[in-house]
């Protein structure tokens, strides 16, 4: 999480230019609509895939599609594509700690009874 410490001494010792500043740009309704349609298509796809027996691939596909949908929402509906690096790093930090919670806790459960997982 040691983020944002990449400071700007070299070319901007006074920190006048806010290094975390982002352009303010708008996403057009057309772009929103495209994302919306994509989200609906993915929803349809994940429901469809759930009715086919693909063995171990079923959960993988379902969660993979969910991740894509989540990323689409974050990037476009939540404007993260046009956000500053700070915001992007913040989100990454959040998911990283979430990941730590899951994996480190799992390390106990998985190794409590080897092979039963």
């Amino acid at each position: 999480m040691a983020h944002q410490v990449v400071h700007t001494d070299a070319n901007d010792p006074q920190n006048i230019t806010n290094p975390e500043h982002a352009e303010h740009r708008l996403i057009t309704p057309l772009q929103y609509s495209l994302v919306y349609v994509a989200l609906l298509i993915f929803t349809g796809a994940t429901v469809g895939a759930a009715y086919v027996d693909l063995g171990w691939a079923n959960p993988v596909i379902a969660l993979g599609i969910a991740t894509i949908k989540g990323v689409l929402v974050i990037l476009f509906f939540m404007h993260v594509v046009f956000q500053s690096r700070l915001i992007k790093m913040t989100i990454a930090a959040g998911f990283f700690i979430f990941f730590v919670l899951i994996t480190m806790t799992l390390s106990d459960y998985v190794s409590r009874s080897w092979g039963l997982w």
Partner: protein, 261 residues
């Protein structure tokens, strides 16, 4: 850079000004809007601080739901059979429709933010109303699903019944019966189902409350004269709630339909 600091004409050479001279600060040289809080140098700074703060708040939400996601992961692995049959009691069509409804609500919210940005008051109000409307439909479908669980005695607690899982044939289900011991574990599935969707619904109810207030203010024209932050930040919250559902839907409804034998 529309940062007020640059307007003081400072150069980047620190030796050029005497130690600790306060900047010749042109107090508010650009047009000041009433919502501008004076402890921020510029409105840009205020706006960015606002959305950064909102994102940090959403991180806490991720971690809050994270605890339950982990519990789900753990117990699904421990009590796989129970989770499979219990999960099959959820209606995929209802879940799918609800997903679409929520995405639509989020889409309207996104358009609402756009309307505020381009200062179209009427459109903004309509979009906020549509967002609320789809939010209500989602909650309605959810309530219907909860009601069905109630009728089947699938609400964890004293009246919870495992009959359907111990003796599926009697209920016209094709699934293999579970041992009474494993059938008990379906209660954990249903608890997590209610905890996660309930917490999600609670977030939506709070969101709808805020939406009502925002709609009133939008109607007054508060957000269509350049002051978009409340709409934008509420949008972040609303989309985050969407994302939680986007993951809850496959986890609870979809991934258990074809059990590995």
């Amino acid at each position: 850079m529309d940062n007020a600091i640059t307007s003081t004409g400072m150069t980047t050479d620190p030796t050029l000004y005497p130690p600790y001279t306060p900047a010749v600060h042109e107090e508010h040289e650009h047009a000041v809007l009433p919502q501008h809080r004076h402890h921020f140098e510029t409105e840009e700074q205020q706006r960015e601080a606002g959305s950064f703060g909102m994102w940090l708040f959403l991180l806490t939400e991720i971690m809050f739901f994270g605890g339950m996601f982990f519990a789900y992961l753990l117990y699904r692995n421990w009590y796989y059979e129970a989770f499979v049959v219990a999960s099959n009691q959820l209606s995929v069509p209802l879940g799918a429709v609800n997903t679409a409804i929520l995405i639509t609500s989020g889409f309207c919210m996104a358009l609402g933010v756009w309307a505020a940005e381009v200062r179209q008051k009427g459109l903004l109000v309509v979009m906020l109303l549509l967002t609320t409307f789809f939010g209500f439909i989602f909650l309605g479908v959810k309530a219907d699903e909860y009601h069905e669980k109630y009728e089947k005695h699938h609400i964890p607690g004293a009246s919870f019944s495992t009959a359907m899982f111990v003796n599926p044939a009697a209920y016209g289900l094709k699934e293999d019966p579970l041992s009474p011991d494993m059938a008990q574990k379906t209660q954990i599935f249903f608890f997590l189902y209610f905890a996660m969707t309930g917490m999600h619904a609670l977030h939506m109810i709070i969101g709808i409350g805020i939406l009502a207030w925002l709609t009133l203010r939008a109607h007054r024209g508060d957000f269509t004269s350049g002051y978009v932050a409340p709409i934008e930040n509420f949008g972040l919250y609303w989309h985050f709630v969407d994302i939680v559902w986007i993951f809850l839907f496959p986890l609870l409804y979809l991934i258990n339909r074809h059990p590995l034998k």
